[in-house]
């Protein structure tokens, strides 16, 4: 039976919400394709797991801390849980997690590997997994339901049941699934523990950490132009959109302030009205209102987005009305 594998990032001992979204997508796909759904996590076990040149071993011991996670993943749709125990502290870097993750891949040989697009380790593990197994890579994918569920990304790439070859997808969203109640007195699902020797990659050494600056942490930016910054309806809708997308509002009263030429590279920017910010580093730009034809915004730098073709989506006309309609369409609270 083909395997669908989902990487689970832990956030304070709990599965990361983005990983659970990937698991929900995996459940839909696996049920449709007749595949088994595996949820895999990497945990730190300080005991020596063996020398670097020895192979990973399937273990019959259990870690108490994994029991709750196992039940949680079972309720979220997993058929089986794989736990890779690494003697390297878990930080979201390939150099730290790569050996343990490779052991999981070797154990399962999955056809489809899913990561939560916003999970901490996805950026490091996802593309490297794809390169290692020669897979197609889908960025910001979501399940499209039909006779047979398929995964489709924002650029039109897809993974379908009848495709040959493997695929790796960073899942952007998935519909919520009904929770499955645990069965009292029984192990909810099979658990496989793998002890992975070998340590981390010594070429990458984490020597410290601290809080990052705002310009680097804004993964999603809702940018309000000066022309609509005093409109309370626009501000309220912008905040609803930011809450729904997990982003920050920039510009307008009471919002985050960024220097006009601040260098930001968010994953997504929704530009409302004529925004005078450099948004050129954004992976995806949506413009509501603003110039209808190719023209630059006075006083802005290259982030002026001089051509409609330099954005991924654009609604011309009054930005407030488009924003309100968009918020309603997305069914944001």
């Amino acid at each position: 039976m083909a395997a669908v594998l989902v990487h689970i990032d832990l956030d304070g001992g709990e599965p990361h919400p983005s990983s659970l979204a990937a698991l929900a997508a995996g459940r839909l796909v696996a049920s449709s394709w007749g595949a088994a759904l595996y949820a895999a996590l990497i945990v730190h076990d300080g005991r020596e797991q063996g020398s670097a040149d020895s192979t990973a071993q399937v273990m019959h011991t259990q870690l108490p801390a994994v029991a709750l996670t196992r039940a949680r993943l079972a309720r979220a749709g997993a058929d089986k849980v794989i736990v890779a125990m690494s003697d390297v502290p878990v930080v979201p870097l390939w150099s730290a997690l790569g050996a343990a993750w490779q052991a999981v891949l070797d154990h399962l040989r999955p056809r489809l590997v899913l990561f939560g697009a916003d999970a901490p380790a996805a950026a490091e593990l996802g593309p490297r997994t794809g390169a290692r197994i020669g897979a197609r890579l889908l960025l910001r994918a979501r399940p499209i339901t039909g006779n047979i569920v398929e995964l489709r990304d924002r650029d039109g790439g897809y993974a379908r049941a009848q495709d040959g070859g493997a695929a790796v997808a960073l899942v952007g969203s998935a519909p919520r699934l009904p929770a499955v109640l645990p069965t009292r007195g029984h192990d909810p699902i099979e658990l496989v523990m793998i002890a992975v020797p070998g340590g981390g990659d010594p070429r990458i050494q984490l020597v410290g950490s601290g809080p990052a600056e705002t310009v680097h942490t804004c993964g999603t930016v809702i940018a309000i132009g000066d022309d609509v910054a005093t409109d309370p309806a626009v501000l309220a809708d912008a905040r609803r959109l930011a809450a729904g997308l997990g982003g920050v509002v920039v510009g307008g009263a009471g919002a985050e302030a960024l220097a006009r030429n601040a260098a930001i590279a968010p994953e997504l920017c929704v530009q409302i009205g004529a925004v005078a910010l450099d948004l050129a580093g954004a992976s995806c730009v949506i413009r509501l209102g603003g110039p209808k034809r190719a023209e630059t915004v006075p006083g802005s730098a290259l982030g002026a987005l001089p051509s409609p073709t330099s954005v991924d989506g654009a609604i011309a006309g009054a930005p407030g009305a488009a924003l309100a309609e968009l918020v309603d369409r997305l069914e944001l609270p």
Binding site: D118, P120, E124, A131, R176, D201, L206, G281, L330
Partner: protein, 225 residues
């Protein structure tokens, strides 16, 4: 030209919106030691890349002229082959100029059997130019990680250059070093197996329905299942 220790992979197409991030990675490489840029794609892109590399103080560009349209693994094969031919041990990749470039960091590292590190926002040589140990700052969520990085390594960089209103027309590419696929040991026919299928979605989405569809994949997960 001295043998470069640092190569900068600029990708297969010009930046989607601005050359600011392209200038940023080139400026960063120029401060680290002997560096050369690598790009692939059509001639006008190679000329622009060469011009920006020379203006940033690099030795120039090694350009691979090709009209192939490849996925991340296809371009990584081209980049890795060029890096091997040039003998560089450290590869910087401009992650911010185009969204598809971030995935190429891991793919190039995999093909070169190198370490990888992504989302780097500050990078300096530890001990001066010419060394192969770097101090890097990486963004991981709300955290800024401090890292020591040793070659061979592929580093995904998100460092902006200065804001520009406009940039001058590229100079004639006199210093460009031309590489071709067969000389790099790559068969274009085999490489084309990694070609991207034609996509119809290149035009920007222009309706509320299609924009909402685009934003749906960015919605934050709500609550527990």
């Amino acid at each position: 030209m001295n043998r470069p220790t640092i190569a900068v992979w600029l990708g297969s197409a010009p930046p989607a919106r601005s050359i600011r991030w392209l200038d940023g990675v080139l400026g960063t490489a120029a401060k680290l030691g002997a560096a050369i840029a690598i790009a692939a794609g059509d001639q006008s892109w190679l000329e622009l890349a060469n011009d920006r590399a020379v203006r940033a103080g690099l030795a120039g560009l090694a350009g691979v002229a090709t009209d192939l349209r490849l996925d991340y693994l296809g371009w990584a094969q081209v980049a890795a082959a060029a890096v091997r031919a040039l003998g560089a041990t450290t590869v910087l990749v401009d992650e911010a100029s185009r969204p598809e470039r971030a995935a190429e960091v891991a793919a190039i590292a995999e093909l070169l059997d190198a370490a990888q590190i992504t989302r780097i926002v500050a990078l300096t040589a530890d001990g001066g130019p010419g060394v192969t140990v770097f101090r890097a700052s990486r963004i991981a969520g709300a955290e800024r990680q401090a890292l020591l990085v040793r070659a061979p390594v592929v580093i995904g960089v998100r460092i902006a250059g200065p804001a520009l209103e406009d940039y001058p027309t590229p100079l004639p590419p006199a210093g460009m070093r031309r590489l071709d696929l067969p000389a790099l040991g790559l068969d274009p026919v085999v490489l084309a197996h990694r070609a991207l299928p034609p996509r119809t979605g290149a035009a920007p989405r222009g309706t509320i329905e299609r924009v909402a569809d685009q934003l749906a994949v960015h919605l934050a997960p709500r609550g527990r299942p």
